[in-house]
């Protein structure tokens, strides 16, 4: 298999009338999906573009999924854009991505036109009803190889410019096979999808669904506010497998929702994206004693995951959960600062190698060169490995333990955020002269401290919300009369973090 569309065709042949995707409003079967994907693909081949980036601006819905696969069928690669993202940030992404076209849902057309400039904007309805031109689609596919990109996924970058990881068909296929085999994803699996499609975790449930003939239902975001309705929805859809960020699992645990309602079908609870607190995991395990629980770990640059741990023993509330061992067909190793392999539980940076690796960052040779490097342990032939920037060590059981990010990058609500990017956006606000975003890990909150003539912190907050996606917004904005500096003359972030409550 060399193209993702083959996965879909295989499953559509086996299970033509089986439901594949659904959301709160509609559902599609495998054969319906395939037909629509061919239509959207044909619409793209009409544009006379090849192996080109196509942006998708759409709500989290079945439509969004149809467009993603449609772009692939048309021989191009996609970038899913958060439909609620401020226009400024979309434009920053577009400056790097330079999309050849934008496909947008009806309700996102206005936004697409606003950010698109001269880029051609295609409406979903028009693309999905396009006449299928199979000859063109097949010719396009015959010219493709498995290392051609499938998508570019943007994460936040330290200079304020988002980085786009380029992930190939080959990586997705290799990764999906591991995911489906390891967690026994089959045609009987029904995923309840929580993560947005512009987030690497969604790659796992979406593609393993297609690969195995499973079913995936998109859980509306608002249901996470109303837990009993969420339970009802999941039971109604017979969801038996979830792959969520720990924050979402935490809502259920903190409110003790499972004391009031049962999840009737759940037998697998998988999570990734941030540290899973054992206290909350233990609540889930108590309520679902027969379910499989697994902690997955990895960056967007290894498609989604490079190590995993299937929970096989008891943990007490304060303990930390291992991130386990490397995935099949994706190796990892730990290097110390001196470039040698970490031994006997020594701490070092995690490196990953293998087919899950992204090809690099789109239109960004500098960042690519610094993260995708020649394997320092191999002098004999070219071999690219990825430096994750994560500090880890092995425990006495030979399981990997996550320590922290090597730099200032933080994980908040499952998203990777460079605090520097928040700084960059905040300092651009009028009457704000200097800023420092700090991360209070204990309270999982981002605090923005600023100096400047603007006395109204709310005004700063509002100005910032026009520039940053929601998940990057600080939980607190504080004005300080004068910014503290350390001996080197740099903003004293450590002091701010320790003292911001008393400013």
């Amino acid at each position: 298999m060399k193209n993702i569309i083959e996965m879909l065709e295989n499953s559509a042949r086996k299970y033509p009338d089986k439901q594949v995707f659904s959301d709160a409003d509609r559902s599609v079967t495998y054969s319906e999906l395939l037909n629509r994907v061919y239509s959207i693909g044909s619409c793209i081949t009409d544009l006379e573009i090849k192996k080109a980036p196509v942006a998708v601006i759409c709500e989290r819905s079945v439509q969004n999924l149809e467009i993603m696969f449609g772009v692939l069928a048309g021989g191009c690669f996609y970038t899913v854009i958060d439909s609620e993202m401020p226009a400024d940030r979309i434009k920053t992404i577009f400056d790097t991505l330079k999309p050849s076209a934008v496909i947008a849902s009806d309700s996102c057309l206005k936004k697409a036109a606003e950010v698109g400039g001269n880029i051609k904007v295609i409406e979903y309805g028009k693309a999905a009803s396009h006449r299928t031109e199979m000859t063109k689609l097949l010719r396009m596919r015959s010219e493709m190889i498995d290392t051609d990109p499938a998508y570019v996924l943007f994460t936040s970058g330290s200079t304020g410019v988002p980085k786009g990881a380029v992930v190939s068909h080959r990586s997705v296929i290799a990764y999906t096979k591991w995911y489906a085999d390891t967690f026994d994803i089959t045609e009987n699996t029904v995923f309840g999808s929580q993560t947005p499609f512009y987030f690497s975790m969604s790659v796992s449930d979406v593609y393993s669904t297609i690969y195995t003939g499973a079913e995936l239902t998109v859980i509306p975001k608002t249901l996470f506010s109303f837990p009993m309705k969420l339970i009802e929805f999941m039971n109604e859809k017979r969801v038996n497998t979830i792959y969520w960020v720990p924050s979402a699992l935490g809502i259920i645990a903190n409110w003790k929702v499972l004391d009031y309602g049962n999840l009737k079908y759940i037998n697998k609870v998988l999570f990734a994206g941030e540290v899973m607190p054992v206290k909350q995991l233990n609540y889930w395990r108590k309520k679902l004693p027969d379910a499989m629980f697994a902690n997955l770990f990895g960056p967007t640059e290894t498609t989604d995951i490079c190590t995993y741990y299937i929970v096989d023993r008891e943990f007490s509330d304060g303990e930390s959960l291992p991130i386990g061992r490397h995935c099949d067909n994706c190796d990892v190793f730990i290097l110390k600062d001196d470039g040698t392999l970490a031994q006997n539980g020594e701490e070092g940076e995690l490196y990953a190698r293998g087919s899950f690796l992204a090809s690099g960052y789109f239109n960004n040779p500098e960042k690519t060169a610094s993260a995708f490097v020649q394997n320092p342990l191999n002098n004999s032939y070219p071999e690219t490995v990825y430096k994750t920037g994560d500090l880890v060590r092995y425990n006495e059981n030979g399981e990997l333990i996550y320590i922290s990010r090597k730099d200032f990058q933080i994980k908040h609500m499952g998203y990777r955020i460079e605090l520097g990017e928040i700084d960059a956006a905040a300092v651009a606000i009028s009457e704000v002269s200097s800023v420092a975003a700090v991360y209070d890990k204990e309270n999982d909150s981002i605090v923005l401290i600023y100096e400047g003539g603007q006395k109204d912190t709310e005004a700063v907050f509002n100005a910032l919300s026009l520039k940053l996606p929601k998940y990057m917004m600080p939980q607190k904005v504080i004005r300080i009369k004068s910014m503290p500096h350390n001996a080197n003359g740099k903003t004293d972030r450590k002091w701010l973090l320790e003292n911001y409550k008393n400013i």
């Binding site: 009993m228 409110w255 709310e458 907050f461």
Partner: protein, 75 residues
């Protein structure tokens, strides 16, 4: 009521909670804000809001939230 408005303003500033009628439909309170709000209300009013109470009807606007608090205080 004043206390509730103050809590709401702390959680999400820049909204006129006295006149806003649909905090959910108008996407003013998202899931994280609701988590935060429930925690604050439990603390401030010494009540226990259970998942059964966390439904859209109770969080529609300041008045419905207030009615829920009163009801739970009496229980």
């Amino acid at each position: 009521m004043e206390q509730l408005i103050k809590i709401l303003e702390e959680i999400k500033p820049g909204v006129d909670y006295k006149t806003e009628t649909d905090l959910i439909g108008n996407k003013i309170l998202d899931s994280l804000k609701i988590v935060q709000l429930v925690g604050e209300l439990n603390d401030e009013f010494d009540i226990e809001i259970t998942p059964i109470d966390i439904v859209p009807e109770n969080f529609k606007n300041a008045e419905t939230i207030y009615a829920m608090i009163k009801r739970l205080e009496d229980e």
